[in-house]
Amino acid sequence: MKRYFNLGLALIAPLLVMLSTPRGSWLEYLRSKRSDGEGGAVKPYFWRGLVLLILCASVFAAPGEEKEIHAKSACMKNRFYAEPPVARAALKPTYFVSAATSENALISIHPGWPKTFAYKDLGYGFGCPGPARMIVSDLDGDGKGEIVVTPEYWDKGLIFRENGEGLKNFFLPDVLRETVSAGDIDRNKKNEIVTMSYQGGIKLFLYVFNWLGDLIFDRKLSPDLTAFSPVLADLNNDRQDEIVFKTGYEQTRSKLMVLDGRGHVISEVTTRSTENTNSFFNTTPAVGNFDNDAELEIAVPLWQYEDEENRRTAIEAYDLDGAPVPGWVSVAYPDFLFNPVCGDLDGDGRDEIIACSWEENLLVFAGDGRLILDKEFPDRILSCSPAIGDINGDGKPEIVFNVFSYGGPASLLAIDPQGEIILEKSISNESYFSPLIADMDGDGVPDIVFGNGDYIYAFNWQGKDIGGFPIRIDAKTCGIKYGPGLAISDIDLDGRIEITYTQDNADAREFSLNVLDVDSPYSPGTMEWPMHQHDAGHSGRYVNRLKSLMNLDLLAERRELRTFSILRQYGRIQFAGMNSDVPVARYRITRCRGNGDYETILTITPAELQNNLFQMQDRYLEKDIPYTYRVTACDAAGKVVGISMGITI
């Protein structure tokens, strides 16, 4: 409106000047000049008006909104680049644009980031773009996250504090892509870095570093042709992670090893199946509890390729001591299976193994090795590992993964354990990393987060975008084709969410490491799958974190009330407060109408509970529309400390 108002002023004002000649009209002036040459008196007014018209028109034509954008850009540059990067070859601004809005108050660049680095020059004009992901883990035990970066082909890895400060480097002969894990292997409440590298390009070694970048130990490995990302997980509940890794050699049986935190061998297994091909980070082991005992077992995928028509993946499962898990002696599927993940989908205490096949199928194996779901997605390719999490708050986990077809559309799919599609959401492109599942809007229900070279998406299980998302990142992915490798964490311990991702600028031959602040509470209990393969140790195992929270007993029922001529329904909600040492600042009752968003209908303090019980009526409900209720308990900082199951009435 303002624009049109300006336009009107710009045109009318000079015209009025032009028209306000002594003879009343410049047209009269022209006429008179043409007829008898008179009109000298009006001439100055006419030309004055004409000049004014041109001036006003030029002012109006100046792009006012563009000016505004430039001003914002300058502001963003100042804000985002206040600190110089640790290392930098060519300083160019990295543009951060939200597709949703350029005035996004919810999402901002985390102070101290991004870091931009030049490509590693491999010679002959080739360059290597760096890391696919940033590994986020609390290395120094202060509660805040550190960021580990291993750019491929470099001779060192980098450790950053959350504020972008370079902490330490750790030195490797030759950095391999995606072979870094972090976890507490020696129970010192600090996380160590475990990776692999080739010495002299031929001898494969396992390296373990502490948070200061000091080498704790290394170990020569054999077979040594192929290496996979090590997995760090506490298999025997001794509160320290074991190191699990697989190495192989062409056409031989691979070796699975489990080491303790001092490098001692716990078990060493030669697989029963041979493996003749691999994908560095797509055939790593995963851990799970397949027999409902106290310890976790290891699932090992092994690829075998004969020709285009004959390829298979064997899955073998072993105990910590190397004994085969019953039922997993000869489990195989006639296709390549990507990183399997594990989780108890049916609540029987035994984990299932979930994997995507190279072509068209999503598979679920029961804990005893039976294939219990073989869901086909015709003409789709499922080249990633899935994520597991309870996206709809029904207390049962769903499976989320991305599918695509060559030259065709890409989508994110969520299915329930029976294979029923719950959600299909179009995305611009696929990614080889798993989607993430985390509560991004603080409603207590985990959302789906996904990144590709174009956007970072975040949406709920109905497919509705979370405020501020998608974020356009224009990663220009070339070398980091697996990126942007999102991870969700609270690295600065401010109780709010941070997102890390990598960004490749192939045109400038540089890559960037980015951290975004999302103005939404970070509740560990609702971060169900916060990074690729679930955690920094790449266990690939889903454990419902809500179980670690206080479980609130919620009762909800739909009641009908009739007067003489009016029939209405209302919800009767009742829950019991928490009896625990966890301090609760408030309870929040949320409601989801049909497939809509969860909205808070009431927030109360514990003092408002009577005999630790709370009852309310939700007036009124629409007939034939399902309503889902859940109650969350939050501490003073807004973190979720207790949650109920979602109850639909």
């Binding site: 009330l561 009739r562 007067t563 003489f564 001529s565 009016i566 029939l567 209405r568 007036r619």
Partner: protein
């Protein structure tokens, strides 16, 4: 749900009793032939709908006005107008409910003298019953056309003045979101009339 007001039966009974006493005490006279009769009375109305009775009470007071015109011999045409306004409490939600009803009736009747002062009337006609109910944050309006049948006993206490006792039953229905609703009911009442 329960009714908020106790039924005004006591006052109604007293009123009827007073009218009866007035009639008995008055000197008897032969029933004169009047062309028109206007009657005003008060009725105890018992709704046919159980939901109505549960919320607004078993009976409700209904003032009613009626005009009768003798058209041929003992045959007459008549029209009546009645009102009901009730409040109820929805205990479950501790919310008030309110209903207003309007009764419009007209029909034909037959009157027969029983004695010099007593006359019996029978009536049959159409009933148009409308209502407006406000409850549960909703206002529901409706109406229905049905029938009404009634009988009355008039006792002339003067040449023009008479007291009357009447019973009637009306039935009409409407369809709302809550389903079919019964709009009519039984009524019994007393009143005074004037012939002219």
């Amino acid at each position: 749900m329960k009714q908020t007001k106790k039924i005004g039966l006591k006052s109604m009974i007293i009123g009827v009793f007073l009218l009866a006493c007035l009639g008995v005490a008055s000197p008897a006279a032969a029933i004169p032939a009047h062309k028109f009769m206007a009657t005003a009375g008060i009725n105890a109305f018992r709704a046919a709908s159980g939901d109505y009775r549960q919320l607004y009470g078993q009976t409700a007071l209904m003032p009613e006005f009626k005009l009768t015109c003798m058209v041929y011999g003992n045959f007459s045409v008549w029209g009546g107008f009645g009102l009901i306004s009730r409040q109820g409490l929805i205990e479950e939600l501790d919310e008030q409910a309110r209903i207003n009803q309007t009764f419009l009736n007209f029909g034909v009747g037959y009157a027969r003298k029983l004695t010099g002062k007593l006359r019996l009337r029978g009536e049959l006609g159409l009933a148009y019953i409308s209502f407006k109910e406000e409850a549960l944050e909703v206002t529901q309006k409706g109406s229905g056309l049905g029938w009404k049948i009634g009988a009355g006993l008039d006792y002339f206490v003067g040449k023009r003045l008479f007291v009357t006792l009447a019973v009637a039953y009306s039935q009409a229905g409407d369809e709302t979101e809550a389903g079919k609703v019964k709009l009519g009911g039984a009524q019994v009442g007393a009143g005074v009339g004037l012939g002219f």
